[in-house]
Point group: none
Chain length 158, copies 2
């Protein structure tokens, strides 16, 4: 017995399938209207059903003329990142390991040397020392920033 979230998910995935591009653009208010629900329901659906792990990526712009853009990322583009992607949610996000990983995918030409160095800069522990955060917090932030950066890479070429 499908619920609202299921219907909205299905609708959006259909839109994506029909689109010639790798993304679709919607307006939150309008979509909420179509399904007779509150706008924040749309955010819920996006949070739950259009996650990075499941191969989707969401961007938005506020203000007059704002919109939400949903990208579909194909598996090939995702696969080189699988390993590090897993470490982004749970434990096991270790700068040292990530660096090794970066070297590897750089050799595999998934990213450029410059990009590898840029990503490396994000996870330099020394930068975080001055803030007075404890290590747990720093790790969390590194993890978050790295994740965001990764999204930008996956978005690319879409």
């Amino acid at each position: 017995m499908p619920n609202l979230t299921d219907y909205i998910e299905e609708y959006l995935k259909k839109l994506l399938a029909l689109s010639t591009r790798s993304y679709v653009e919607i307006q939150r208010r309008e979509l909420a209207g179509k399904f007779a629900c509150v706008p924040s329901q749309i955010n819920y659906v996006l949070d739950r059903r259009f996650t990075l792990e499941s191969g989707y990526l969401v961007e938005s712009k506020r203000g007059g003329g704002g919109c939400i853009r949903i990208y579909r990322i194909d598996l090939e583009r995702m696969s080189p990142w699988r390993e590090v992607l897993n470490s982004l949610n749970g434990e096991g996000f270790e700068p040292v390991k990530v660096r090794q990983f970066l070297r590897k995918i750089c050799e595999d030409n998934v990213i450029s040397k410059r990009e590898a160095r840029l990503l490396g800069a994000i996870i330099q522990d020394e930068c975080y020392l001055v803030t007075g955060m404890d290590q747990v917090q720093s790790r969390k932030l590194q993890q978050k920033l790295f994740g965001e950066a990764l999204e930008e890479i996956l978005k690319d070429g879409c």
Copy 2:
């Protein structure tokens, strides 16, 4: 979903691209007429889309026969570039301004689109919220990380 501001921006940039000189001259009143909006809308567009950080310079003359002149700043004329970089590295580190700057050096092919987006990810305020740092601290860290990352990119002899 472009809005009025987007259209006016596009129009002006097209004018600039077509111009043989490095600037264009417009009349606020007349331009507002063309887009059926109030004159101050033009100021808004200029404030938001034609800043120094994004590589433009705006001059104006009031009174009878007044006009607005918009210059496109060329990276070759290094001086403004340096100025901006310095201001970014000094006190006034503001992600909004930095983003405009990124857009410009991207347009000028100093960095790739992907790199611009990666650098943009580093300075997203939302990421830093979870850490419980105050804004001053977050800014400092953003600035540090951004600086390191940018260096890694430019090291490479762009």
